[in-house]
């Protein structure tokens, strides 16, 4: 749609952090290999009492909430009609895409019989009572929608870029391997033509996918909460409530906005770009309202179920509950003050607090508040943690590479923050 709002990040792909992240990814690949040959028990500490460990709790339940930036900003742009947030959307969709694709990947690592996963597409196997069925279909559909939402950026660069990297690569090849240059040029022209033909068509129908990209997360994020409704006797009453779907839905939206802030601040720091303070302070203004609604639902529900006293028992469960509550309350408290919303430092601090609190809520529901009965304990093994780390590393790695290949990040001059000296690099980019 508005391709002139975005730009590629200049720079070398093969940086030091690239190789560090690559190493972590390879460790994960090795551990997944071990899991395939020796079973889940060989790499994880999961047991029959705690059949879901951090792969489900972090990679799926929390990871997809962290990947809700695309969802949250899409609501802001297309529904609340704040078009000036549009420049943020592409990097949000990109991270959402990675978040969801990798959540899907870790599910495939986690499930014991992945070769049977095709059963999700066999209508006679569909099971409408199962929340898991709904989550699985929605997450798969949403990943596809995210890829479609991101396609314009890829098509745009296929069409408009000079294919410099490919040419450099071809030039670096030994003579014997070098393909016919003229043939190559013709092929590139063909790709350009196809991309140029698809892009306007896609732009016309894109809005229907974007809206689908708002409906599906509403469905499956609330369903991620519904997943634990069945554990009536195992999930601690502090968290087991009929409001789980509503709480998970609101939770993912405020985590989504906080992640947008974090991502912008971090990528501004990492890529040495100006911070989009105006946009971020606008995003930050929404967060405390959502958290206030969320916190009141939590408290109201506890009072309604006569569980408020359990929250102040200061035992294991109560401490985690209070920690989660305090992190979110503190983070949103900071954002109620207008000066804080304009300070990148306070924005960052409060976003960190809210993401931590929101993520802890999901850990509380999936792991910490889950008690299958006497005799069972769970703490993730090193290998289990490393698989999760390598999945996050892969996410960062792919983000780092893609923003350099495809126009994703907001164009600097649009916001008027760009220092005059910086515009030079930007001119290079638009070429």
């Amino acid at each position: 749609m508005h391709h002139d709002e975005f730009q590629k990040q200049e720079g070398n792909i093969f940086t030091k952090s690239f190789f560090v992240l690559l190493t972590l990814v390879l460790i994960g690949v090795y551990l997944v290999g071990v899991r395939c040959f020796k079973g889940l028990g060989a790499v994880s500490n999961m047991s029959d009492g705690y059949p879901w460990g951090i792969w489900i709790t972090y990679d799926v339940a929390t990871g997809t909430a962290i990947a809700c930036g695309g969802y949250a900003v899409a609501i802001l742009v297309y529904i609340r009609h704040h078009m000036h947030y549009h420049p943020l959307i592409r990097s949000c969709i990109l991270t959402s895409m990675f978040g969801y694709a990798l959540a899907g990947l870790s599910v495939m690592v986690d499930i014991g019989r992945p070769w049977n996963a095709y059963n999700f597409f066999v209508p006679s196997r569909w099971q409408g009572n199962s929340v898991m069925f709904e989550v699985a279909l929605c997450v798969m559909a949403y990943t596809v929608v995210l890829i479609i939402e991101f396609l314009p950026a890829i098509l745009y660069s296929l069409e408009k870029s000079e294919w410099r990297r490919l040419h450099e690569f071809v030039d670096s090849l030994p003579l014997a391997l070098t393909p016919d240059k003229a043939k190559l040029a013709r092929r590139i022209d063909k790709v350009r033509a196809v991309a140029g033909w698809i892009r306007p068509l896609l732009d016309k129908v894109l809005i229907f996918f974007i809206v689908l990209g708002m409906t599906l997360p509403t469905m499956h994020q609330s369903a991620l909460g519904s997943l634990l409704l069945i554990a009536t006797t195992k999930l601690h009453p502090l968290w087991h409530t009929g409001f789980l779907p509503l709480l998970f839905l609101i939770n993912c939206i405020y985590i989504g906005y906080s992640i947008v802030i974090l991502e912008s601040v971090i990528s501004a720091y990492a890529f040495k770009r100006p911070i989009e303070v105006k946009e971020l302070s606008g995003v930050a203004r929404i967060i405390p309202w959502l958290t206030v609604i969320w916190l009141s639902v939590v408290l109201g529900d506890l009072a309604y179920r006569h569980q408020l006293s359990a929250a102040f028992r200061f035992d294991f469960y109560s401490c985690f509950f209070l920690l989660e509550f305090a992190l979110i309350a503190l983070g949103s408290g900071i954002l109620f003050r207008q000066e804080n919303r304009w300070s990148p430092r306070w924005l960052f601090v409060s976003a960190v607090l809210i993401v931590l609190g929101g993520a802890l809520y999901r850990f509380n529901v999936y792991l910490i508040g889950f008690n299958p009965g006497a005799g069972w304990t769970y703490f993730p093994s090193l290998a289990e943690v490393m698989v999760t780390v390598s999945i996050v590393a892969f996410e960062l790695l792919a983000y780092q590479v893609l923003v350099k290949l495809v126009p994703v990040l907001p164009k600097i001059h649009l916001h008027g923050h760009g220092k005059p000296g910086k515009t030079k690099s930007e001119q290079k980019v638009t070429a």
Binding site: M46, I75, H84, I111, P114, N116, I207, I230, T233, F370
Partner: protein
């Protein structure tokens, strides 16, 4: 202009999230108990009759090892792999005999296996119908060819019965299915019940078992805890227990009478009734987004109109 779109936003959120928010309210007002079918097959285990010989365990493994890919659980001291020595239900055992003993207290054996709930949580949560409940016999069965290994059944089961083969490259869920497909059809009973020397395991229709259990409680009031475990728990189960020591001490959890699927399915179905809420949400969002886009396009400088 902005106010209008905000109203639109609230409307959209209202329609979609309304269903979500209302779900628990709808739930609170209804508490109809699900129908118990006493014609279903069940098992009555009388802990006071059990002598702990474990013939049932051996018979179960002999009959079902192929269907469930059951192997032996080796004890740590058993270097030569001579014995099968499970200490709990595992991915290699569908049933186990355990001993409860405390000094100065009466001791008791207990046999653990699938409870074959009237309204099983595992069947309710299985996303691919790998776990099913036979409508006539009431047997809760597992189909490894459908199972994706997500282990949601283990999360859901209030008795922690389904077990997963953590040490296998090609793992399965393991749980009792009353010898369906291996022993039941030919013999009309389960392997464990057929070998029990003391009559501690009875197999039959739930109504007959309940009658038998009640008459035992009446005839020997001093010998038994005066409840039939499984009659009311989580909406009623088909594997019933009689015992002389409190059931909680035997590893049978104290559970409410409401079946977990009654709670979760009610909320889930309220949200997704006829798939109306998602469709309404999608259409509303579409309309708002399209209107916003139309309004946005003719304006050459979009950032200025916000004016804030």
């Amino acid at each position: 202009m902005e106010r209008q779109s905000r109203r639109g936003f609230l409307k959209a959120v209202g329609t979609g999230a309304g269903a979500l928010a209302l779900a628990p309210v709808a739930l609170a007002s209804s508490g109809a108990p699900s129908q118990v079918n006493n014609e279903e097959l069940g098992m009555l285990y009388d802990a006071t009759k059990c002598v702990g010989c474990k013939a049932c365990m051996a018979a179960c493994k002999r009959v079902n090892s192929e269907q469930g890919t059951l192997e032996c659980d080796r004890a740590a001291f058993d270097q030569d792999a001579l014995w099968d020595a499970p200490t709990d239900l595992t991915g290699n055992n569908r049933t186990i005999i355990k001993l409860y003993k405390e000094s100065g207290q009466p001791w008791s054996y207990v046999k653990l296996s699938c409870m074959h709930c009237q309204n099983p949580a595992c069947v309710s949560v299985c996303p691919v119908r790998a776990l099913t409940k036979d409508r006539r016999t009431g047997i809760v069965d597992y189909n490894k060819d459908a199972c994706i290994g997500c282990r949601y059944c283990q999360i859901a089961c209030p008795f922690n019965i389904p077990k997963f083969q953590w040490d296998r490259a090609l793992p399965q869920i393991v749980k009792c299915n009353f010898c369906k497909g291996t022993f039941l059809e030919k013999n009309g009973t389960t392997a464990c019940a057929s070998v029990c020397p003391s009559g501690a395991i009875l197999f039959g229709q739930r109504k007959d078992l309940l009658q038998e259990a009640r008459s035992r409680l009446q005839l020997n009031p001093g010998k038994y805890i005066q409840t039939i475990y499984g009659e009311k728990e989580v909406g009623g189960v088909n594997h019933l227990y009689l015992a002389g020591v409190p059931f909680a001490k035997l590893g049978l959890p104290t559970l409410p009478e409401a079946a977990p699927p009654g709670f979760s399915e009610k909320i889930h179905h309220t949200i997704y009734k006829g798939f109306i809420a998602p469709i309404v949400l999608y259409t509303t969002l579409c309309l708002i987004a399209l209107r916003n886009m139309k309004r946005h396009e003719p304006e050459p400088q979009p950032t200025r109109k916000e004016g804030k």
